[in-house]
């Protein structure tokens, strides 16, 4: 994309009409991009959250192998730049898929779905960061909880899911909300592997209209809006999961 020269008209209303939903406006395209951004971030949660918990459990395991595995996983995916992780997963999966297909006798171009690649990459990153949050939450949990479970004769499974996990979740929520916000911002990187998210749509709009200042400003505001809405949602969930404490304090 070339850098553009000064826009001719500097009237704000002129620019606002660029956002209209009618033909010639970019409103619909940007909204579609925003939808991709949000759905990509949401799609990372079903894999990222449980995987993070599993990594945290592995890091606390008494056996050496799971511990080493967990440390490696979280060091690698927390240490790599998200952009590099994304490119490695994207090209890596592509090359691997091509090799496998070639071995099976299929010759020809194979393109991996960018959404899928991005989803895998960001899920891994999210899992690595959230595993640290889960670990910290485990440390605040009193040992007595576990002992009480076995004293009551609860199975390990029930003890974990019904006693430990609800308490862990409550403690981990603020940290997870931070991770969610950085995930939301990191998704802007997928525009580099040409998945048409909010950032990519903005790039397209800029290359057509030559109004970079306006459109990138709008994109920033879009991400700010997502952050603000997520903040509200997390505040609600946190209030709800702490509701048993409020009565005690009052």
């Amino acid at each position: 994309m070339d850098r553009t020269y000064p826009p001719k008209g500097f009237v704000m209303l002129d620019q606002l009409s660029l956002l209209s939903f009618a033909s010639g406006g970019w409103g619909q395209a940007l909204l579609a991009g925003a939808l991709v951004t949000v759905s990509l971030a949401l799609a990372c949660l079903p894999i990222g959250l449980p995987l993070g918990l599993v990594v945290a459990l592995a890091a606390r395991s008494r056996k050496r192998l799971p511990r080493a595995w967990a440390t490696t996983f979280s060091t690698v995916f927390r240490g790599l730049p998200e952009l590099l992780t994304l490119l490695i997963i994207y090209y890596g999966c592509q090359i691997a898929a091509q090799k496998i297909l070639a071995a099976m006798g299929y010759q020809g171009e194979f393109l991996i779905n960018t959404f899928l690649a991005a989803m895998i990459a960001f899920s891994l990153v999210f899992a690595a960061f959230s595993s640290e949050i889960w670990l910290a939450a485990f440390k605040t949990l009193p040992k007595g909880q576990l002992e009480a479970c076995s004293a009551l004769g609860l199975s390990k499974r029930t003890g974990f899911f019904k006693v430990l996990l609800p308490q862990l979740t409550r403690i981990a929520l603020p940290g997870l909300s931070n991770n969610w916000l950085s995930l939301l911002k990191d998704t802007s990187l997928v525009s580099t592997i040409s998945l048409v998210d909010l950032m990519r749509q903005t790039n397209l709009a800029v290359s057509v209209t030559k109004e970079p200042m306006f459109f990138y400003g709008v994109a920033c505001l879009g991400y700010l809006l997502f952050a603000a809405v997520s903040g509200r949602v997390f505040a609600f969930i946190e209030r709800r999961s702490n509701r048993h404490l409020q009565g005690a304090r009052a």
Binding site: R3, P81, I88, G92, M213, G217, A219, C220, L224, A228
Partner: protein, 236 residues
């Protein structure tokens, strides 16, 4: 498969010969980028933290708005906003005599990274300044120390001790985020990697970059841990 063949899969000598020196250059660019923007960001961040804690409501609001904007939107969008957005106002910058600055991707990237990290560091400094016990302020006043002396000799050293952990995390995040610079034609470590990959189509290039980034991050983490232990040695 012999050892040489295995080695060629992850560290091809020909490829290393051709792109090794470039990787070193890229490493240097990344280091410069992070070092300059992080230190400038620290100064700006400290000022912002002071503004947020000042008595003037206007200063407070402005600093809070700044921090909210730069922490709430992606660095990529901010970089594009500065590089393409401000860069498009060529006539204006020529009139002001700042075109040499906004013409260069390097300066725009430095500016974007500085502004971004300043917002994060402002929050770190604010938290650490508030962590200093109020008795320290009162004691300094009782001793009739000047306000500047109180700040630089009493408050700041104590708060830095609290801040160094989070600042280290921010430094590591900056090192990782600096990979974004490659998207505006800067040949940092990531930029060199992409260039080498686009020419050779050899996947091992990405693995080299991954190892290099991991090494840097791990090295910085160890150094910071050491530094933190040394600065806090009077506490143990």
């Amino acid at each position: 498969m012999s050892f040489e063949q295995l080695l060629a899969l992850v560290l091809d000598p020909d490829l290393l010969d051709r792109y090794g020196p470039r990787f070193l250059d890229g490493l240097l660019v990344t280091a410069k980028l992070v070092a300059i923007s992080f230190s400038l960001g620290a100064v700006l961040g400290l000022l912002l933290a002071l503004a947020r804690m000042s008595r003037s409501l206007l200063l407070q609001r402005m600093a809070a708005g700044y921090v909210y904007f730069f922490r709430g939107s992606p660095l990529l969008a901010q970089l594009f906003l500065l590089y393409y957005g401000l860069g498009s106002l060529k006539g204006f910058w020529q009139d002001v005599g700042l075109w040499w600055f906004f013409r260069e991707a390097w300066f725009c990237t430095l500016l974007a990274f500085t502004l971004n990290t300043a917002a994060y560091q402002a929050e770190i400094f604010r938290g650490s300044l508030m962590a200093v016990a109020p008795g320290q302020h009162e004691a300094a006043r009782a001793l009739n120390l000047k306000r500047s002396t109180t700040f630089f000799k009493v408050i700041l050293p104590q708060s830095l001790l609290v801040a160094i952990g989070p600042l280290g995390n921010e430094l590591i995040l900056m090192i990782k985020a600096s990979a974004i610079a490659s998207l505006v034609t800067i040949y940092d470590l990531m930029g060199v990697t992409k260039l080498a990959f686009s020419r050779s189509f050899d996947f091992q290039i990405y693995l080299w970059a991954a190892v290099l980034y991991l090494l840097i991050v791990e090295l910085v983490r160890r150094l910071l841990k050491h530094l933190e232990a040394r600065l806090g040695r009077h506490l143990n």
